[in-house]
Structures are given as C-alpha cells and as structure tokens.
C-alpha cells in the first residue's frame, strides 16, 4: 500500500472498529476523518464512569457504557467509530455481535504504525504510566489479530502502515446497495410471476408498457418501452411452477438491463441460483419445470442469468424512504440495512419454526406489528385479494395457482390485475379467504396497543408544530378513554376547546365582539363569519346511509345506523332507544335532502350542538347552578328584609343597603340566565340538533371549504325537519367594511340581551394561517348575562370586573390550536384509511390535552 493518494471506501452505515496498540495514533486518526460525535473512545468512557481516563479498574463499566452507546447509534442508523485498542478477539466479538443485532456492516481499520514510532510516542506521553512490556504484549496481539479479522466477520479491512499515508488518505462513504431513495417513481410493483409469461405480458401492456420480441440476444430477446416516466419493480419469485420461467427471466432481465425495471430476489429465484451454481438442492416446488425450460437455453445465457440472480439486492428503499419493496416483506428495524438476517427475512419472511398440517412453515405475520413510515410492498404468500395492513400490502394473488397477477401502482395505490389463463399448479395450502366480511386492517384494529397511547408522545400533524403530549396527561386520558369512551373505531374526531376574546376594552363588559375582530385584523384575516353560539352540549354525530355501509367503513361486526358522542368521546344518549330514534330522525332528513347522492358518500361525520343544555347536563345544573340560584335568592331576600328593618330603625346601614340591593337583583338575573337553557324534554320531544360543521364524508375532510359552504349545506337538510334540526344563524363580516362590523355587533347585542349565549367569530376559511403559523379557528364572544353563570352572579360589580379583566387567554389559545390540528389530523388519517392507531393517537391526544389545567371560565 504505497500509492501516493490512498482512497478507502466504507459504507455510509457501518461500524468502524479501529485496531491498534496504544500510541499508534488511533485517536488522532479518528479526529481527522470522522465527526467527533461519531467516535466513541474507551478512554472517554473510562473517564465518564471514574473521572480517570487511565483507570484500568473501571474497564468493565467503561465498556458496558461504550457498548450501550454504540447500540444506540446503530439503532438510529448512524455510523459509529470505536476508538479502543480492540486487540483482543473477545473484545471484537462483542462489537461484531452488536453490529449483527442492528444489521450493520462491520469495518476494521488497522493502525500498523512502526514500532519505533510507537515507542517514541510512548516515551513522550505523560498520561500513560505503564511500562514498555505492555506495548510489546500489545504488538504481539496485533500481529495475531491481523490474520483473524476476515474470518471473524469484518466485511471490509483496511491496514494503514505509515503515518505519512494519512496525509494522502481520503475516506469515502458509499451508500448501501439497497438505498435507491433518489428513485422517486412512479412505479408499477408486480407480484410473484412464477413463470406466467403471458399474464405478465398482458399486465405490463395493460399498465402501458410496450413489449417487443426482437430475438436479439444482446437484450435477451426483448425490448421494452416503459409507460410514461414509470418503472416496474418485481417483488421476486419470477420462476418455478409456471409454464415459461425462461421467457419471464428474459423479459425481466431485459427490463432491468435497460432501466425500465428493478427486481428484488425471491426464495425461488435464489434456489435456482444455487442449483445453477452446482449446489445440491431438492428439486421440488416447481423447480423441475424451470430447469426443464432452461435446458434449451444457451450456456452464455445461463451465465448471464447467474450473474443477474447473483446481483439481486435483498430489498430496495425507494422514493426518499417512503417505499420499500422486499419479496417477503420487511420489519421496520431491518429496512435499509444489510446483513445475512435481513436477506433471509426478505426471502423467507418470519416463521415461528412450527410446521402446519400441510408440512409448510407456520408464518408469523410481521405486518401486524409494522409501524414504520415507509409503505412496504411484498409478495411470497399467495392470498385471494391484496389487502392493506398497517401501511403494508401483499400483492401475491397466486397467479400460478389460478388466481391473478397483480400490480400496485405507486404512488396512486391503485391495484391492476390480470386473471390467470389456467391453473398451472395446485397450491399445497389452500388460499385462505378472510373469515369475516371486514378488511384485514379492520379486523386488526379491533384491539389497539398500549404503546399507541401511553407515555410522553410527540404527534406530527400537517397543520402546526408537532404536539407534545405529556405523560401525566396521557395517564388521565387513558382512564377516561378506557372507562367511559366509545369503541375507538367510532372516535375519528374530538372537538377542540375554544378561546374567548381578550377582555373587553369597554366599561361594564368582560367580552365584546370588537376584541375578536381586532384579533383577526392584526393577523391579517379580512373575511369573517359570526355564528350564533348555541348553548347546549357539544355532540359529534356519525351516521350512515345504511347500517351495512357504516359497518363496512368503520369495521364493526354489529350493525348500527350511527352514533352520537360527547366532547370526551362518551356515548351521548345513555338510552339506546332514544339514540336509535335520534339517528333515525336525522337519517330521514339527510335522505329527504338527497344528501348521500349529492356528496357521493354513504356516511357523514357532523360537528353539532345539541339542545337543550338540560337534556345532558341536568345533574350539573341541579348540583351547581340551581343550587347557587336557590340558596342565593333565599339569603339575599332575608338580608334585604333585615336591612330594610334596620333602615326603619334609622341605623346607618346605607352602605350595606347599596351594596346588597344590586346583589339581590344579580342573583335573580343569574337564575334567569341559566334557566334560559333549560327545557323539559320527553324522549326526542324538545330536543334540537344544530350541526355547524360537516367534518367528513367518504374520501373527504371538508376543512378545505369555507364556513358558508358548511352553513348552506347544513341549512339544506335542516329544512327537512325544522322542529328537530336547526340551521345556525350567521352574519358575514368584512373587516374593511365598517357597516358589516356594526351590523354584527348590533346582532350580538340583540341576541345576548334576549338571553342568547353569544356568538363565535371565525375566519371565513376553515383553516386560516398567518405569516408564521395557524390562526385560532374560532373565538367565542359571550354575552354579559350568560357570563354570570360562568363568573358568578356579581361579576359585573366594578371591583370584581376590574380584577377579572386581568385574565390571560394565551394557554387556552395554545391548547385550542393543538387540539384543532389534532382533530383535523385524525379525520385526515381516517379518510385516508390509515390504521386505526394512527387516528386514535390524535383523538387520544385531544383528550389528554383537555386534562391540562386551564382556567375553566375561559
């Protein structure tokens, strides 16, 4: 190794083990060529655990720590350099074992610095107080080590003899062969072909590929032009059992060669390679047919075939890591890594070691536990229909067994199939039909995992910064969710909290629309909608066109027409019959209005207020509001009559009289205020539903439409049953048009003086963004009388109001935004048919945030 410019290449993801005696220059080498965070040195670890880098007594603990840190980096797919002598085989074995565990390629770099230089350096160092006999011993170990590294399992070994070499050395990091992240597709991923040439040809043509048989041996006899910008990806198992494995191989090799296809190996392909390489293999499972078909092929082709099969990479990571193709699928912790275990998994999948009644290995369905970001497309196990499960899909639809050959179009997620022409082989194990009517995902979603909800969580949404859910909030939410909430399959949304306006600048009022308008004006929102705020109970309603449609979409075994739940996910109606009557009445109105056809859906999720308040909150009203009203009126009357008597005695009670007389009136007004929202109901009689958002229908979350669309669409079906359904009155405001502002304020004043709760001011668009981030989707502005039941009967007394106006709404607003974005994210994920746990974690997050302490009067 005496070239002037030395360049060594190591895999981008590898474990680099430095091997060399003390003072051979390992640390300075590491410093020169690697980032400081990539290097873990044993001396450093000794220092961490004992305050002394040379403390040999601390070696065991130091290496425990080193191994732990190495493991953490490899788990995160980060290159790591181990700066220790690594002269003992046992020390290297431990590292190799860790690299294996994380499917990482081990690299050894040996520092073979000359002995004179080492002795010279050792003399100069003051921190090494051991004698030169130690060095001599180390040098003997180094010699022994050099011979063994290859055998021990290091995949790349580099030896550097001369410190001069380092001056001309460069280290290149090469990406792994499975890394094709720069290939962004679009792709057509094709399932197990098994020699079904005609079906493959038909499928490719259906996908828009042009195939020409040229007979030109240079391109294996075929010329393929890909569909516009697309590329095929074969999941492997090209051969065996079928009628024309030879032709399939020629076609695929030609496509791979001219760049119109990628191919990963299947177990059958690899067994064929073994056979062609002269290894002994059992001729079974259709290999005989393949060998027979290949017999007529010239030996040059066989050589090229061997080279082709030999070149196949276990799996590919495509499209910025968003897509993975492997023959039998791949666990998340193996994706983009390389080891014998990874390759075996790609070829055979995971088996428990058990053998079933057909003599085949029992397969463990790894996809059930898959939770990765990448979509995994695979084949290997024939099934009647491809099915999504946790963002993975098996597209081996048993072509050779009389099924069909299937392609998945990516990113469209569209399935394209060609029926087989005949049954070429009988399956050993019959193709399993799914026992219940539901999809694999829905069946899987029957039971969620604690890991999906517990502990501290960070949730990403499209709308705002990641939302952090703290452990104590998750813990509180877990109790509510598991003890009181509906089946998680229903809970595709929970409503966010809403902040009030800043305190009113006007005297004698705590809230006023002007502050809501100011808030939006300052953030550059011009068009607003003011909706009447109903005073009832929040209700989320999910209702289907038919019970069957709903069952199919939501994945229940039992049929319902729908459900209605509260803001914390509880069933709204404790009486099942009442719920049924409620849903039927709403259903009738939706059908009457032609809702299903108009919106091309057979279900809808509505955000509503259900009146009267007393229908749901009677126990709260009795124990809280009525209690205060009743006791207050009684005492105030007694006080006033005593003070009146005292006045007659000409006692100086004028001050007391002046203070208490307004309070006597205030408590009456308090009673009047809450009584407004109470009404006797009898079954459904007296119940009014006011929907105000059409949250989602099949394939759509309607957060892209302005509130006027929601209002109009809702008004259209409310007309069907005006006694039961209430369209929400509203006013539009243009902040550049003073007249619309004064009209809205006058409207608010009138509504609230008639006992109304107030209004909600929203940007006209459902989702509004400012320069930096999301803007409050709504600000509530409550009337002065309503606020008595929140802030107390006497809150308008000057001394009280002054103190109350000092409230801060910051925390409430921050919660409102987090909950709003999580709620929408949950809907998006549901509509996108993501696994339930992805929906549930968002909904769970809303509930967890709701347990956060915040001034309840806001």
């Amino acid at each position: 190794m005496n070239q002037k410019n030395l360049n060594i290449q190591i895999p981008k993801f590898s474990m680099v083990v430095l091997v060399g005696v003390s003072s051979s220059g390992k640390s300075s080498f590491a410093r020169q060529f690697f980032k400081s965070t990539e290097v873990i040195s044993s001396d450093f670890c000794r220092g961490l655990v004992s305050d002394d880098e040379n403390n040999l007594e601390a070696t065991q603990d130091a290496f425990d720590l080193l191994h732990y840190m190495v493991g953490k980096r490899l788990k995160r797919k980060k290159l790591v350099v181990i700066d220790a002598t690594n002269l003992q085989e046992s020390a290297r074995q431990k590292l190799l074992q860790i690299s294996k565990e994380y499917h990482c390629l081990p690299v050894a770099i040996v520092m073979k610095t000359s002995e004179e230089l080492i002795y010279e350096r050792h003399e100069q160092r003051s921190d090494r107080d051991f004698g030169t006999f130690v060095l001599r011993k180390q040098l003997r170990s180094l010699k022994r080590s050099l011979k063994r590294l290859k055998k021990e399992g290091f995949r790349y070994i580099f030896t550097l003899d001369d410190p001069e070499q380092l001056k001309n050395l460069s280290i290149n990091r090469t990406k792994l062969w499975n890394d094709k992240q720069e290939e962004t597709g679009p792709f057509d991923i094709i399932g197990d072909v098994h020699g079904c040439f005609e079906e493959l040809k038909t499928l490719l043509e259906k996908l828009g590929y042009q195939i020409r048989h040229t007979g030109n041996e240079g391109t294996f006899g075929y010329e393929v032009v890909a569909a516009e910008g697309r590329k095929a990806v074969f999941v492997g198992d090209l051969v065996d059992r079928g009628p024309a494995s030879d032709k399939v191989l020629r076609l695929v090799m030609s496509m791979v060669e001219n760049g119109t296809a990628l191919c990963v190996p299947g177990n059958h392909d690899m067994k064929l390679l073994k056979k062609l390489n002269g290894k002994r293999v059992k001729i079974q499972h259709g290999l005989a047919e393949t060998l027979e078909q290949l017999e007529k092929e010239p030996s040059e082709f066989i050589e090229k075939l061997k080279a082709f099969l030999n070149s196949l990479i276990s799996h590919y990571v495509l499209d910025q890591g968003k897509l993975v193709v492997a023959h039998a699928g791949l666990r998340e912790d193996m994706i983009g890594r390389a080891s014998g275990t990874v390759r075996a998994f790609c070829l055979y999948g995971e088996t428990s070691g058990e053998i079933d009644e057909f003599g085949l290995p029992v397969r463990y369905n790894w996809a059930q536990e898959y939770d990765g970001k990448a979509m995994v497309v695979y084949g290997h196990t024939p099934i009647p229909e491809p099915e999504w499960l946790n963002n993975t899909i098996n597209i081996d639809t048993g072509c050779v067994f009389g099924g069909k050959l299937t392609a998945l179009r990516y990113p469209e997620k569209e399935l394209v199939s060609v029926k087989t022409e005949k049954v070429y082989a009988e399956p050993i194990r019959p193709l399993e039909k799914n026992a219940d009517q539901r999809s694999a995902q829905q069946a899987y979603d029957d039971l969620l995992d604690m890991e999906d909800v517990s502990g501290k969580r960070i949730l990403n949404t499209k709308y705002a910064h990641p939302v952090t859910i703290w452990e104590q909030n998750s813990a509180a939410a877990l109790e509510i969710m598991s003890r009181f909430a509906l089946d998680p399959k229903w809970l595709i949304y929970l409503p966010p909290t809403m902040s009030p306006t800043d305190s009113a600048a006007l005297d004698g009022l705590l809230e006023h629309p002007a502050e809501a308008f100011d808030y939006y004006r300052q953030l550059g929102v011009q068009k607003l909608i003011c909706e009447k705020k109903h005073m009832g109970s929040r209700a989320v309603v999910i209702i289907g066109k038919t019970p069957e449609a709903l069952q199919q979409r939501f994945g229940f075994v039992a049929a319902h027409l729908g459900t209605c739940y509260t803001r914390t996910g509880r069933r709204f109606f404790t009486d099942e019959k009442l719920e049924a009557a409620f849903l039927e009445r709403l259903h009738k109105a939706l059908c009457g209005a032609g809702f299903w056809a108009e919106h091309e859906t057979d279900w809808v999720c509505l955000d509503c207020e259900l009146m009267p308040w007393s229908a749901k909150a009677q126990s709260l009203i009795s124990s809280q509001y009525a209690a205060v009203g009743a006791s207050g009126q009684q005492s105030m009357n007694a006080i006033m009559s005593s003070l009146t008597k005292a006045t007659k005695r000409e006692l100086p009670v004028e001050d007391l009289f002046a203070r208490f007389q307004p309070r006597q009136q205030a408590i009456q007004q308090f009673t009047k205020a809450y009584s407004e929202y109470c009404k006797a109901t009898d079954g459904l009689e007296g119940i009014v539903l006011a929907p105000f958002h059409i949250l989602a229908t099949e394939g759509k979350v309607h957060s892209d439409k302005p509130h006027t669309w929601h209002m109009d669409t809702i008004a259209a079906f409310c007309k069907q049953d005006p006694e039961f359904l209430m369209a929400t009155p509203y006013r539009l405001v243009d902040l550049l048009d003073e007249e619309t502002i004064s009209t809205a304020i006058a409207w608010w004043t009138q509504m609230t003086s008639e006992g109304g709760e107030g209004m909600v001011v929203k940007p006209l668009s459902f989702i509004a963004r400012g320069e930096k981030s999301l803007i409050q989707p709504a600000i509530k502005c409550r009337g002065p009388e309503y606020l008595r039941i929140i802030y107390g009967p006497d809150y308008l007394e000057q001394q009280n109001l002054g103190r109350l106006k000092k409230r801060g709404v910051g925390k409430k607003r921050s919660l409102a935004l987090k909950e709003f974005s999580l709620g929408l994210e949950a809907l998006d994920r549901f509509v996108d048919r993501q696994p339930l746990r992805k929906v549930h974690e968002c909904v769970f997050g809303v509930l967890a945030l709701e347990s956060e302490p915040v001034d309840p009067r806001l």
Binding site: D487, S635, P652, E850, P853
Partner: protein, 464 residues
C-alpha cells in the same frame, strides 16, 4: 348569609350586653375572605333581634385556594359559599361573639348562665334529609326547616338540599353559640375546604360537654374530617365537569347503606382471600392483579413466599398512588421491591407488559366495563397476555333478590355497567372456552342466600 338571633327575654335589649354589641350601632369586622356586619333590625324591651351578616368576597376566596396550589374547577368560582351557613359562619361567630361564647359578661355576669327564650333564623343552610333534626333535636331545639325548591320555574326538579332553618329553645346564649359554631359546618359538610386534624380537635373541645352524649356523635365527628382530594382526581373531574356530569355525592348518613356497606366490606375481604387461596393452590408463582385498585390483594399475596412476582395494574393513577401508599412503596426493602411491580394500563388495549405471568386475577373488574368493550378485554387477556391461569370474580345478580325492597335490576355500584346471573356468567365462560385455549370451573363466594347462590361468583380459567 344572614344569621339572626331573637329573644323575648325581658328586657330584651339585655342581649346587647351579653353579646358585647350595642343595639344601636352597626359594626363591621374582618374575617379571612370577607367581612362580618352586626346590626339589630329590631331592638326594644319586648323583642330584640341581632343580625349577623357574613359577606364573602368570592374572588378573594378563589385566590386563597389558588395560593394553596389547587387546580380549580368551575365550582370553585361559582358556588353557594356567600349564601349558606358554613365554616365561614363559625369563623364569624368566633371572631365577633367569642366573649359571649366563652361565657364572659363583665357588666351583667348573672345573665350568662340564665336560660333565655331564643329563636335563631338562618337564611340558608345545606341540610340533606333529616340531618338538621337529628343534629339539633337531641339538644332540645324546636326545629322548623323550610325546604327551598331548586328552581320555581321548574317544579319538576323538586327541592334543593337547602332550607331556611329556624331553631327555638330556652338556653344560655353561650350554649346556643357553641352549638351553632360546631353544628353549622357539620351540616354544610363542604368538601372544598381541608380541615386540619388539629383544628378538628379544637372544634370538638367546644362541644365536649354536650357532644359526648349526642346520639349522632360519630357522624358529627366524621363530617368534620373533610377529605382532601388528590390532584390526579382533579384532572379527571375537570373532564367530567366539561361533560356536565358530576358524580352525585354519596349519602353516607343513610342507615340502610351503612349496614350494606359493612356486609360488602367483609364480603370483599372474603373474596380476596378466596382468590389468594386459589392462586396458591394452583401453584402460581408470578401473578398479575389486573384492576388492583389500592392493592389489597397484592398485600395478601405478598405475605406468601410462594409468589415470586406480584404485579398490580390499574387504569387509575389515583388508585395506583393509594396502592403505593398501602404497600409503603417508597421504603420497601430491595427484596420486597423485587417481588412487586405497579403500573398503569387499560385492559381494553393490548399490552406486552402483561405477558409471561403464571396467573392473572381480575377481582370485581369486568363489570366496570361496557358490555360492548368486553371483547377487547377478552382478546387482550386470553389471546395476547395468555397467563396459564385466570381468576375472575363478579357480582352474582341472582343474589340481589336478598336486598328485598330494592329494584332487582338496580346495580350494586353506580359504576357497574352490568351484573350477571349465574347462567349469564356461565355462558360467558363457555364462550371463552370456545374461542380461546382455556378450560374453566365456576364457584361461588360468600354465604349463599336460599337458592340464589353467594353474593359473588368466581371463575377459574386454565390454559389447555
């Protein structure tokens, strides 16, 4: 709140001497969270009435709570405190009438021990059921308790827990004040204030001579000890409040309930011992107690050396905290600590931490789950956690017939979602046997009632 005391003692205006408050003056005193005003609406030779007006500043009251680090709910802001007699009233009495209450009267000492015809009017007090009668009648009072309706516009809501209370008696005024001082907060029984133990003793010393013979001595004492609620509880209540659903206060003064409660406590003990015995008999070494509550079963199991690992799981952080306290978690010896584990989980989710145990116990747990969520528990338990042995107990609905004058469909606990008859329980066990790899045997717990079986039923599932 207004409390007034009227006398017809002649001359009635002597009341002013006894109380050290001049009938022609209006006086104001400060107490924490407010003021007390004293004036006489009526004062002549024949009749004299003193009025004590307690004026509470609600905003200030909340500030005091917040200083103590309580997390607040709506009820802390809008409540009956300014309007009803409560511990504030006692504070006011102590502040304003302490000399009279202690029986001192320098100018007319002979008046102190004299029995006066007295009538007390309390504008409003919370007095559930016949409590006012039970507390005051044994002391010789004539009681008039006028119920206040919740809301006159909604007669169907019925009466509130409040009444305006009038008490008549002939007794020394110092005794009257002492009675009011002790009994008003006992009636009110407001949970929002924490009364320290030292203060309780102080209060009880006021009532020493008359309380010891009072038939309701126990209840009176108990109601002084307000329970403070843990912070975790508050988080849950916040959520419940936003729903408009507050848990009803339990009425512990109901005699019938008390007896039933005693029966249930002993039954629970029996149940736990049966379960522990079963686990021991079947040779379990590692046990997971699912729905461990405050850890009573764990405590029993801990005493048996056979159990090498005892893990408690509950969905409620509050219960887990109680369990930790019961098990002296913070000071456990290393050997004991090794045997014990506690964590939060919910049985409607799959949880890998539940796997690998010899046995699982679910004592009175399943009935707290909605019937339609039971399937999730079944899978989490029998398909995934898969202990070799599962012991489950649940109430026997057939036994409810014993509690005669109760509706047989009435559930024994407000959080029970269902209660099963013996047949329903057996059907369920059979279903588990058909769906999973378990066999079962059923037994009953507690003394049988006629042919209805014991109060509780138990099933033991064994993996096959």
């Amino acid at each position: 709140m207004l409390l007034s005391i009227t006398t017809t003692y002649q001359p009635a205006t002597d009341l002013g001497y006894l109380l050290h408050k001049h009938p022609d003056r209006v006086q104001t005193f400060s107490i924490s969270s407010g003021q007390v005003h004293i004036f006489y609406p009526e004062a002549n030779e024949e009749v004299c009435t003193v009025a004590m007006l307690v004026e509470i500043d609600p905003v200030n009251m909340v500030r005091n709570l917040r200083k103590k680090g309580q997390s607040l709910m709506l009820t802390h802001y809008v409540n009956d405190r300014p309007y009803t007699a409560s511990s504030f009233t006692s504070t006011a009495i102590a502040e304003v009438f302490s000399t009279a209450m202690n029986g001192n009267c320098k100018s007319k000492p002979d008046l102190v021990d004299k029995k006066w015809p007295l009538e007390v009017q309390i504008s409003c007090i919370k007095a559930k059921g016949d409590l006012a009668e039970r507390f005051f009648a044994p002391l010789g009072y004539e009681i008039l308790c006028e119920r206040i309706p919740l809301n006159e516009s909604f007669p169907e809501w019925g009466d509130s827990y409040y009444c305006s209370l009038s008490l008549k008696h002939e007794l020394p005024i110092k005794d009257l004040l002492t009675h009011l001082y002790v009994l008003l907060p006992v009636l009110d029984y407001n949970k929002h204030y924490y009364v320290s133990k030292a203060e309780v003793e102080k209060l009880l010393s006021k009532g020493e001579d008359w309380l010891k013979d009072h038939p309701e001595k126990e209840l009176i004492t108990k109601r002084f000890l307000n329970r403070s609620r843990g912070l975790t509880r508050m988080a849950l209540e916040r959520l419940a409040e936003s729903e408009g659903e507050l848990e009803e206060e339990t009425d512990e003064n109901d005699e019938g309930n008390k007896e039933k409660e005693a029966v249930q406590i002993s039954l629970h003990r029996q149940r736990l011992e049966t379960v522990a015995e079963t686990l021991k008999e079947k040779g379990a070494r590692t046990v997971i107690d699912l729905g461990c509550g405050e850890g009573k079963l764990m405590q029993i199991l801990l005493k048996e050396g056979q159990f090498e690992k005892i893990t408690g799981v509950d969905v409620s952080v509050y219960e887990l905290q109680k369990a930790k306290k019961r098990l002296h978690w913070e000071t456990l010896s290393p050997r004991k600590r090794e045997r014990l584990e506690l964590f939060q989980s919910a049985l409607t989710y799959r949880d890998k931490r539940l796997e690998g145990y010899d046995a699982a116990a679910l004592v009175e747990v399943i009935e707290h789950l909605d019937a339609d969520r039971l399937q999730a528990l079944e899978r989490a338990l029998f398909e995934f956690a898969q202990p070799k042995l599962v012991v489950i107990t649940t109430p026997n609905k057939d036994y409810n017939a014993k509690f005669e004058n109760e509706d047989p469909d009435r559930l024994r606990h407000h959080d029970h979602r269902f209660e099963w008859t013996r047949q329903e329980f057996k059907d369920w066990a059979e279903k588990i046997k058909q769906s999973y790899r378990y066999d079962y045997e059923i037994s009953l717990i507690g003394e049988a009632f006629e042919d209805k079986g014991g109060p509780s039923q138990m099933v033991v599932f064994l993996i096959t």
